[in-house]
Symmetry: C2
Subunit: 233 residues, 2 copies
DNA sequence: CAATGTGAATGTATTCACAGCT
DNA sequence: AGCTGTGAATACATTCACATTG
C-alpha cells in the first residue's frame, strides 16, 4: 500500500492559491466555479486547473463545474487547516512581533500558541495576548500545547540553535524567516522566506522584463564560433 | 533581433540562493569554489550548478572552479544590486514597520527611500529615520527619488488602490505582502509574499512527508455505487 | 589531472484533443 | 450543449556522460 497519492510539487504549491480564491468567492455567495474562470483569475489555463484538481480528488461535475464549498473542504482537509495547526514563534524581534499581531492566521487554520526568545530582557513581556517565554521551556511547551509548526524569526546567528532545539522538541515543520539555510533531519520540513531574496528575485525579473540585460560577452569584439572560455575580466 | 539570452525561470530563482552563499564564503575569506561544493551545501547537484552558472556567463576555470568574487560581481550585475535599487514601502502597519527597520536590505543592494500611508494619523510620524508620507505625494516622490520598486504592506482592501497609484507613478516592480492578487499591466512585475500561503504550503508538505494523507476515494455524497468510469490507471 | 561546459538522454510538467458525463 | 477528466503530444528541466580546458 505504498501507493502515496503523490501530488506533484507544482500542484501542491498552487493549492494555497486555489484556496484563497475559492474562499473569497464563497464569501461573495458564489457556489460553483468552472475551471476556465478559476484559472483565468489566477493566471492559469483551464486545463491546468483541471489537472491539479484531478490530482486532488474527482470533485467536478461535467457541464457544471466545481462546487466551491466541497472544493474548499477538500483542500482544507488536505492541508490540515480544517483541524487547525498549533504554531510557535521563536524570536521576538520586529518581524516576530509583526507575526504575533497578524490576525489572519487564525481564520486560515493556524493558531500561534507560544512565543519564545532567548533575551532575558524580553521574557515575561507581552505582545498582544502572547507572553514571551524563555527558550528553556520550549521542549516542555511544544509537547504540552501540541505545537507542530514553528516560525523562526531570530537573527541568523541564532537560527540554527533555535532549529536544533525545535527538532529536539519534536517539531514537524519550520518556516524560517532568518536569512540562512537550516540543517534539519529529512523528517522535518523547513522552508524559507527570505525578504532579501524575494526582493532580489523581483529585481531580476524587472530587469528581464525590461530587457535591461544586454547579456553575455561584455566584449563586443568577441563572437567567434569558439565558445568556451572567453575573457572574464 | 537576437533572441533574448533568456535565463530559465528555475535558474533565475536560484540566483539569489547562490548569491547569498557566495557572499557568506567571501566573508570567510574563501576565494574559489567548485560546483560540487556549492551545490552540496545548497541541496543541488554539481551539474545543476554548472548549468545554471553556464546560463549566466562562462566564469569557471576547468580544474579549479569559480572565482567567488567574479561570480558575485556577475550575479549582482545581473540583478542590478550592484547599482542599488531605490524602494518605497506603502502601508505602515506591523509588517511595514518591521520592513522599515530591517537593516539588511542596504547591504543587499536595496535602499528604502520613502514610506507612505493613507492614514492621516500616521502622516509625519517617523519609523526609524523614515518619515511617513501621504499617498498624495507618491507620484512626485517616485520621480524625484528614482524609486523603481515598491513594497506593498497595506491591508488587502487597500492594496489594489495602492498598486494602481504605483503603476500610475511609473514603478517597475511590486513586492506585495497583502494577501490578494494585484492587477498590473504586463510591463510591471508583481510578486507576492503571502504569509498565510507560506504556512499553508509548509503544512501541506508536512502532511505529505509524514504520510498523513491516506487519501480517500471520492466523497460518497451523491455518487451511486457504480463507478465503472473514471478508474484511473 | 581535476573540474568545467555541454550535447544527449531522461524525467517531469504543461498543453492539446477528445471521450464521456450531467 | 457545456464542462470535466485524462491519455497523448509537446515543452521544459534535470541528470548523465564525456570531450575540453587551464
Amino acid at each position: 500500500m505504498a501507493g502515496t497519492p503523490r501530488i506533484p510539487r507544482p500542484t501542491a504549491a498552487r493549492v494555497s492559491l486555489y484556496l484563497r480564491e475559492l474562499e473569497r468567492r464563497l464569501e461573495r455567495g458564489e457556489s460553483t466555479i468552472r475551471s476556465r474562470e478559476l484559472g483565468h483569475c489566477l493566471g492559469l489555463t483551464d486545463t491546468q486547473v483541471r489537472k491539479d484538481l484531478g490530482h486532488i480528488g474527482h470533485l467536478g461535475f461535467p457541464g457544471v463545474g466545481y462546487r466551491i464549498e466541497d472544493l474548499i473542504a477538500r483542500l482544507r482537509f488536505l492541508s490540515g487547516t480544517d483541524r487547525g495547526w498549533r504554531a510557535a514563534v521563536v524570536g521576538v524581534g520586529n518581524i516576530g512581533r509583526a507575526l504575533l499581531s497578524y490576525d489572519r492566521f487564525e481564520s486560515e487554520g493556524f493558531r500561534i500558541v507560544a512565543a519564545f526568545d532567548s533575551d532575558p530582557e524580553k521574557i515575561g513581556r507581552h505582545v498582544g495576548t502572547h507572553e514571551i517565554l524563555p527558550m528553556e521551556r520550549l521542549g516542555e511547551l511544544v509537547r504540552e500545547r501540541g505545537i507542530r509548526i514553528a516560525i523562526v524569526t531570530t537573527p541568523p546567528a541564532a537560527a540554527q540553535d533555535a532549529a536544533d532545539a525545535l527538532v529536539e522538541a519534536g517539531i514537524s515543520g519550520i518556516l524560517n524567516f532568518a536569512p540562512c539555510r537550516l540543517e534539519v533531519p529529512p523528517s522535518v520540513v523547513s522552508t524559507e522566506v527570505d525578504l532579501g531574496m524575494s526582493l532580489l528575485q523581483l529585481a531580476l525579473q524587472v530587469r528581464l522584463v525590461n530587457g535591461e540585460l544586454l547579456e553575455i560577452e561584455e566584449d563586443p569584439a568577441r563572437s567567434g564560433p569558439v565558445r568556451a572560455r572567453s575573457i572574464r575580466r
